[in-house]
Amino acid sequence: MTIEILGTGCAKCRALEENVKQAVARSGKFAQIKKVDDITEIMKYGVMSTPGLVVDSKVVSVGKVLSVDEIVKLIS
């Protein structure tokens, strides 16, 4: 499983990245976490409100910091 966090480095993006790490640890899944901060890469997903969350190349959330629980639900 690949989880990508789309964001150009705002505070919200870092908060989301932190929550994703905790969620992956809690779910016990094997997942590769990637922080995407290149704007042209982000644009390829058509996401305009950062932070965005991409699981296995699918955009699952935009513009908000999901809680650890919500992310666990998304990836399991």
């Binding site: 150009t8 705002c10 505070a11 919200k12 704007i39 042209t40 982000i42 644009m43 390829k44 997903y45 058509g46 996401v47 305009m48 409100s49 950062t50 699918k58 955009v59 699952v60 959330s61 935009v62 513009g63 908000k64």
Partner: protein
């Protein structure tokens, strides 16, 4: 009703009188009223906005005629969420969808100007008439600025070139229940209140002090006169206030009550929300200095014109 309760508390229960009582009365009345309205309005606006993500706006605008585009882009600025940290992906996302530069700017002017905090504060302090005037004139500035920038052929001043998407844009596959939207809206409201409450209280406290102690004559002589420089000075003073919009507005309320002209106040409030330095710094990464300067000056001139027109008509 609430006013009577506060009045009786300050003047009868506490047995106060004079200027201190006037200031305290104002402070209690305003603090409770503003926080109540802020909570309700931000919650309602955030909930409604969750139905209009920027991605949908982009898809809609990319299919419209440019002339109609300016109007709808400005209108969408009211109902979509905007945060200066996503100004870049938003800007490039619009261009990627072949939305013209001018239309993109119409949105970029309207969105921060019509943010939920500004609307909530305006409504709480000045009532619906001033709020509507602010939104209406804000839309006008956004549309005209966008039209002007669109005419100047500045496409080369965008430093990052985005390839227009061929065919369909990538879709976001998300379904959100109403329950989730309500929870998210509440979380967001609490977050905003946590961020701004101190500024709001400080703003009301200074406002209460002015209300009770500073003579009206002084304010009229400084901010209330119709000297030609009042509007530009108010506009320039508004630029560095961006992050404190919530704290500045209670001050403006008192200043207008004490004789500051409404046009000057409107110019100031629009400058606070629309001319944001942090946003300019962020956009600097993808736009040339020339384009940012044109963007800022066009909007600033528009804001000042509105101040003058308003002072002229109502002053």
């Amino acid at each position: 009703m609430w006013k009577d309760a506060v009045d009786s508390f300050v003047y009868e229960t506490l047995g106060m009188g004079g200027r201190a009582a006037e200031a305290l009365d104002f402070f209690i009345y305003d603090t409770v009223k503003i926080f109540l309205l802020l909570t309700v309005i931000i919650f309602a606006v955030t909930f409604l906005r969750s139905f209009f993500p920027t991605e949908i706006v982009r898809d809609y605008l990319s299919k419209r005629h440019p002339l109609f585009g300016h109007l709808s882009a400005a209108l969408f600025g009211i109902i979509t969420p905007f945060c200066s940290c996503s100004a870049i992906p938003l800007f490039l996302g619009f261009l990627q969808a072949r939305i013209p530069l001018g239309v993109t700017f119409s949105y970029l002017v309207s969105a921060p100007m019509n943010n939920e905090i500004a609307i909530a504060m305006l409504f709480a302090l000045f009532g619906w008439k001033v709020t509507l005037l602010y939104i209406g004139f804000g839309l006008l500035v956004a549309i005209v600025s966008g039209l002007i920038i669109g005419r100047l052929n500045l496409e080369d001043e965008v430093l990052i070139k985005v390839e227009p998407v061929e065919g369909e844009l990538p879709k976001c596959e998300m379904t959100i229940s109403v329950r989730e939207r309500l929870i998210e809206a509440w979380r967001y409201t609490a977050d905003i209140l946590r961020k701004v409450w101190l500024y709001v209280v400080a703003g009301i406290a200074v406002g209460a002090f002015i209300h009770g102690y500073v003579p009206t004559d002084l304010i009229v002589s400084v901010a209330g006169n119709d000297a030609w420089y009042a509007v530009p000075v108010a506009t320039i003073l508004g630029v560095p206030m961006y992050s404190n919009a919530a704290g500045v507005m209670p001050l403006i309320e008192v200043l207008t009550q004490k004789g500051m002209l409404m046009g000057t106040a409107l110019s100031f409030m629009m400058a606070v929300t629309a001319l944001s330095l942090p946003e300019a710094m962020i956009l600097k990464k993808i736009l040339s200095t020339k384009l940012i300067t044109i963007f800022f000056s066009t909007v600033a001139i528009g804001i000042m014109l509105i101040g003058y027109i308003f002072n002229g008509v109502l002053g």
